[in-house]
């Protein structure tokens, strides 16, 4: 029986789609897991483009939900990576084209055949969000080190807890060590401190993300990419391994002391 993980954020543009693509690809490539990446951003589909699979779409999520095709007909198999599949969103419809009940049913079905179903959630807290979390077992929350993004992340934590999710985990994206060092960007501790949730990983700002998106091949496969390395670490943590935060240069002066705080232990009392 597989696991459904939804990747949320509240605020738009903070890296949900990038994270879904990298985690999905990494789990298939490095952990030999059967993975479906499901784009729940109906009307604004992106995951297909980030994955370079945009030319292969025939059917989509809404077609499956409405019985226009079978599940397997809509799933696109990524030929580069064994065991990796994409369920594309519909582009010409809107969020109301599918219901939470339909999503739940779909996830149940996928769980029978795949190890991981990663759901790329749309921004916001409306119906698209409700659809995306409906069939999920666990939730990840992506934020950037900015007041507005962290505020929205906090809102999502509240909504997820209200929906019965236990311990959603935090992903901090686009951290800039140079800015943290000169005191112009909130650091990891600051964000864990205010949000009081556990950390899954930290991804540095990395131009390789843009380059890899240009090519349609996730940075996680790029050995020289720091963001890719951060995603590879996160994948191992998802699989239950204890992996220390990588040393992104100068993020934490007393880095070694801080390690204990992040792993194995609960981040903060609620």
């Amino acid at each position: 029986m597989g696991e459904v993980i939804v990747i949320t954020s509240g605020k738009g543009g903070v890296g949900k789609t990038t994270t879904t693509a990298n985690l999905g690809t990494g789990l298939a490539l490095y952990k030999q897991k059967k993975v479906v990446m499901l784009d729940a951003d109906i009307g604004l589909r992106n995951l297909d483009v980030v994955m370079g699979l945009e030319n292969r779409i025939v059917y989509d999520l809404v077609d499956v939900a409405n019985g226009m095709c079978r599940l397997k007909q809509a799933l696109i198999k990524d030929k580069r990576f064994e065991n990796l599949y994409l369920m594309p969103a519909a582009q010409t419809k809107d969020k109301t084209a599918i219901t939470p009940t339909q999503m739940k049913k779909l996830c149940e079905e996928l769980k029978r055949d795949y190890d991981y179903i990663l759901i790329d959630c749309p921004a916001g807290i409306e119906q698209g969000f409700k659809n995306a979390i409906a069939g999920a077992d666990r939730a990840l929350i992506v934020t950037t080190p900015e007041v507005s993004a962290v505020r929205d992340a906090d809102r999502i934590v509240g909504l997820l807890e209200a929906a019965g999710f236990e311990e959603p985990k935090l992903i901090i994206n686009r951290l800039r060590p140079d800015m943290v060092k000169r005191g112009d960007m909130m650091d990891i501790d600051d964000m864990i401190d205010v949000l009081a949730i556990e950390l899954l990983g930290v991804i540095p700002e990395d131009e390789k993300i843009v380059i890899s998106t240009n090519r349609g091949e996730p940075a996680v496969v790029d050995e020289s990419s720091k963001a890719g390395q951060a995603y590879r670490n996160m994948i191992r943590r998802l699989e239950g391994e204890e992996v220390p935060l990588m040393k992104i240069e100068n993020i934490e002066p007393n880095f070694m002391d801080k390690l204990r705080v992040f792993f194995g232990l609960k981040a903060r009392a609620k």
């Binding site: 000169r182 005191g183 112009d184 600051d190 205010v194």
Partner: protein
């Protein structure tokens, strides 16, 4: 660090300002306190206190903030500033 003092100071790093602003925003978000609710509290305070003192209703300020308890934990706090114009002469209680 006293969080009330860090606003508007040039020598404070922008990330500390960000963190304090964020904390205050989240106090409001999490408490779900609307301006309307604060207005309600305000008018009831005025009603109650007016029996004993004459207060400057325009100067009255009620807000949600954060307060440090002795054990270094900060908690949300409702703070009221009530400027007094005149204490009414009441029979000694």
């Amino acid at each position: 660090m006293d969080f009330l003092k860090i606003f508007g100071r040039e020598d404070v790093s922008s990330k500390d300002i960000a963190k304090e602003r964020l904390r205050l925003i989240l106090v409001h978000d999490r408490a779900n306190v609307s301006p309307k609710f604060l207005e309600m509290i305000k008018s009831q305070l005025i009603d109650m206190i007016s029996d004993y003192m004459e207060i400057d209703e325009n100067g009255l300020e009620v807000k949600l903030t954060r307060m440090e308890k002795d054990d270094d934990v900060t908690v949300p706090a409702l703070v009221a500033n009530i400027p007094i114009k005149k204490v009414k002469h009441l029979a000694k209680i």
